[in-house]
Symmetry: C2
Subunit: 411 residues, 2 copies
């Protein structure tokens, strides 16, 4: 939570946080959005230890800046034109601009750098600045940096937003189920009233429309993958392919509210009309694993226990798992879930490779998503809900949607 | 254009380009999208001078990787699990993984870094790698880097896509005009058939729906700003405010096709029902400037000439401009336009502060957007089309939409 920032800065001996909010990257800047609440503006957030965060912003963006509640500092305090008159080399001029800002605002000591940036430009600027400003030490945290760490535990107000995004996402999934149920079987092909095949592309189009109607966006796409594609965890689905009865369809949808908001992540696996026994068995194993894990969730427990539990559950039912084989391409091949919030994957998870000692903590929001993949059998199954560990240590699904495999067609 | 990359690498003595395509940033990575054509995948693009570009990708993303036409290298060639067993410190393990990749692929010498990254993580990784890998020199280009430079001139196939995005964007603007024309005047307030005021929020909702229907997204929002807000170039519009007849409305829309595609950028200024004389005069000046500049466009000419021409045009009509006053908050306060493509603002423009010696070159795609801002009079006007400098040196507007100020209401 934001109130953890000062404690984390003290623990890591960081004097100031500098969060870049560059132009042109839209809302793909979760650290910056965390401070400005998704306001549409550029600028830089600077927070000194023990002091409220400041927003350096363009005077053109005064209105948006006022919505953030941050301490506002218009960048017109410094004249880039004057600096360019003195120092015609643009790189040196931008370093000098940054040096003046840091000096005037008394930013120095150990300074952590955050936000989403252009690789070369940022590397050049920071390296140049560190050479020019004595007393400045750039601290580049590799993982579990201060802001990521603060973001991992959510305030009740953040969870209220995430509940809303969950409900909206479920409404989109329901619209897709309703649409599929308007179809009829022609042999094993799903067709519309005119007898034309319904393709994955039609479903994707519906998903885009329904997302927009809910005020959601899916900046990283949506997975609607059938048959062999369902067996490849990241295949997004072949738009030209018609929907086929009795095939596994993995529908994984991970949208957020427009303008850099919070994500939801859910997956359902469907079979239209009927499920062949082999698919039904694999589905039952995945659903069994899901329910087994969820029943055992306990505040304070290590996440590794749940990854191990899932592997054990699947191995007892004859599936290979990443717990005992690596690399692995069939069976249970990934981790059980991940943190979620302003990013779809936050810096928290259930370890499939290396235990990082993570615990389920009150305030955590994360996915539970066991799956089994057999691309050569044309089968993949995954079931995923987003969960919240409440302040009192209980667990709440933010994904109120049933888990039925078969979508029955009207006869 | 992509075929310029090897020449630019030779001119700048760069041995390899490394383009990061990190997880979780969606499509906000124009350099990476340039190589993978917006395919939904993570990974890293590496291009050695004189050789085709390689894509290091997850085996999970084989299908998407195949669509790129790049040389494919699955990251399963290197085992992070093995490295973590040897080197439990995660930062050192990731540096070692990167060291092995660079060594195995023979990447060394002067290596340029590109793409959109997390500031701290990337800075740490690259600094660590440079310490460990002798013979590696990280080259961080500050502006006009090799990839930005190649991207500035578009291939005919890229322009064909940009024409399509232009037509789709115009269709969204037309839908908004048609919607406004369904309203009626109640005094100076625009109301619907039931007599309820039509608010900017209703228009914004329509814009979102129409964008989705066209397969477009607006990751940086849309400006629909009325009255005083129209006088602030980046104010996005107050959703609660009702539409008022006779007020300046700046409608600036800059969407792209879904999934990291090409942007379009256009602005129209509207007045519903009628335009008061003060607004009409300012509008005529902006439209006059627009047409004056466009008539003078010439392949090979310096962009500075057009910025100067615009300032002169406005000053002759009694407006203050950034050409003779800085900082400036009223009048003509910004530059005439900017390059556009996979980013809304590309590294090319008409200089308002410092001339960078840029020329209008065949293949360039850029905006022309003069404007006048008088927030204290409740007036702002901007007119913007996207232009293309063709291979034969002529200029084509990619924005086929009329430039009428007044949206007449049905009586």
């Amino acid at each position: 939570m934001k109130r953890d920032l000062d404690r984390l800065m003290a623990e890591r001996n960081i004097d100031a946080l500098v969060v870049e909010g560059p132009d042109g990257l839209g809302s793909a800047n979760p650290d910056f959005n965390y401070f400005v609440n998704g306001a549409a503006l550029t600028g830089t957030v600077i927070k000194k230890r023990g002091e409220p965060a400041m927003l350096l912003h363009s005077p053109w963006e005064q209105l948006q800046a006022e919505t953030t509640g941050l301490v506002l500092i218009p960048t017109s305090r410094w004249s880039l034109r004057d600096i360019l008159n003195e120092i015609p080399d643009r790189f040196q001029a931008y370093v000098e601009l940054r040096r003046r800002i840091f000096t005037d605002l008394d930013i120095g000591g150990r300074v952590g750098i955050y936000g989403t940036v252009r690789a070369g430009e940022h590397f050049a600027l920071l390296t140049g600045l560190a050479q020019k400003l004595t007393g400045l030490e750039i601290v580049a945290e590799f993982e579990k940096d201060i802001i990521s760490e603060a973001r991992l535990t959510k305030e009740p107000e953040e969870v209220e937003i995430m509940r809303r995004v969950g409900r909206k996402t479920c409404a989109v999934v329901q619209a897709v189920v309703d649409f599929i149920r308007t179809g009829h079987a022609d042999g094993d092909t799903l067709v519309d009233a005119s007898g034309a095949a319904i393709a994955i592309g039609h479903v994707k189009e519906l998903i885009r429309r329904e997302l927009a109607a809910q005020g959601l966006e899916a900046p990283q796409g949506t997975i609607f993958a059938q048959g062999r594609d369902a067996g490849l965890p990241h295949a997004t689905g072949d738009e030209a392919a018609p929907l086929i009865l009795g095939q596994a369809i993995v529908f994984d949808i991970f949208p957020r509210e427009l303008g850099g908001g919070y994500f939801h992540d859910m997956t359902r696996t469907f079979a239209i009309g009927y499920a062949p026994p082999q698919l039904q068995k694999i589905y039952d194993d995945v659903r069994g694993a899901f329910e087994h894990v969820v029943a055992e969730l306990e505040s304070g427990a290590p996440t590794k226990a749940y990854q191990d539990m899932t592997c054990k559950f699947f191995e007892a039912r004859g599936h290979e798992t990443i717990g005992s084989k690596y690399p692995i391409e069939e069976g249970y091949i990934h981790s059980l879930g991940h943190g979620i919030g302003l990013e779809i994957h936050e810096d928290f998870g259930f370890p499939s490779l290396q235990d990082r000692g993570e615990l389920l903590r009150p305030g955590a929001v994360f996915t539970i998503e066991p799956g089994l993949y057999y691309p050569n059998k044309g089968i993949g199954v995954r079931i995923e809900d987003t969960y919240y560990c409440t302040p009192d240590g209980s667990f709440e699904s933010l994904t109120p949607f049933p888990k039925d495999l078969v979508i029955p067609l009207k006869s």
